[in-house]
Symmetry: C2
Subunit: 170 residues, 2 copies
């Protein structure tokens, strides 16, 4: 019986130590993986690579996105892809994307991230336009890969004039 | 040795069953608790109960909020409280809050929620104004209580006119 108790204690300690270290390591790796996702996202946006951009979002009807522009929301990655495609048509020239103030937290198969993404896009007439988006993403890990299941993009809006501040300051 | 193997199998099965059912039950309860939070939030908003409203947010400097109105972001619950207080001063009359399209997902001590909140507020001149907010919240469970650690509120904005759609349709 003593042997059994000792064995259970060893098993319990092993589980605790193993769980603790594995969670720490996984969480660190997860945060790095998600930060890498945003680094790649900017590269893919600048390359106007629609397939690469959409690969960061959950497939099918899972994604619900509140875009900075109307409509109120998109359900499913196919609908949201049209929003990106429309943007690339309206702004066919050079584009830069710079993410800053990025916060990432991951726990188990859930994560969230928020920050600011400064886009400088070039309209059809060659004019450069800057838009500083605030973004919030919720991500789920599926088959070892992090995918965005919910996204919220926006600009702050003046309550009196109803006008957006496209260049909001921190 | 056979006894030991049998014991380990029983322990493993027990852990699996126990873990599975406890996660299910906890997750169901968690989702209900978070839905109840939004129901209470609307009641407290209509009662203009600032202390009650702020009790849903994480204390100290944890909260980061992207409000629908400038500035770009608030860090900490004390700063965010000023935003609510300013709103109540600007709209001193009767107020209604109606949350719809509420999605809630909880896993472990982490949850997120998003939806639409339709506010009808009464300005100083007695005029009623409607604002349909899109909201995204990230919540963490601390000491058995769910608290909002990140919030994002917004209206969709017309990219050409720069004007917000305060009454966006689904």
């Amino acid at each position: 019986m003593k042997l059994l108790v000792a064995l259970l204690v060893i098993l319990a300690l092993g589980a605790l130590v193993g769980f603790g270290s594995s969670v720490k390591t996984r969480s660190g790796t997860d945060e790095q993986a998600i930060r890498a996702l945003y680094a790649r996202y900017s590269v893919d946006a600048e390359a106007r690579n629609l397939d690469a951009i959409m690969s960061y979002y959950a497939p099918g009807k899972t994604l619900v996105a509140f875009d900075a522009y109307p409509p109120r929301r998109y359900v499913g990655v196919a609908a949201y892809r049209k929003s990106y495609a429309g943007f690339f048509v309206a702004y066919p020239g050079p584009l830069t994307s710079k993410v800053s103030d990025l916060h990432v937290s991951a726990a188990g198969s859930f994560a969230y991230a928020f920050g600011v993404d400064r886009w400088v896009a070039t309209a059809k007439n060659g004019q450069k336009q800057t838009a500083v988006f605030r973004f919030t993403d919720v991500l789920r890990k599926t088959g070892g890969k992090w995918l965005i299941v919910h996204e919220h993009l926006s600009f702050p809006v003046d309550p009196v004039t109803g006008r957006a501040d496209f260049l909001s300051k921190p």
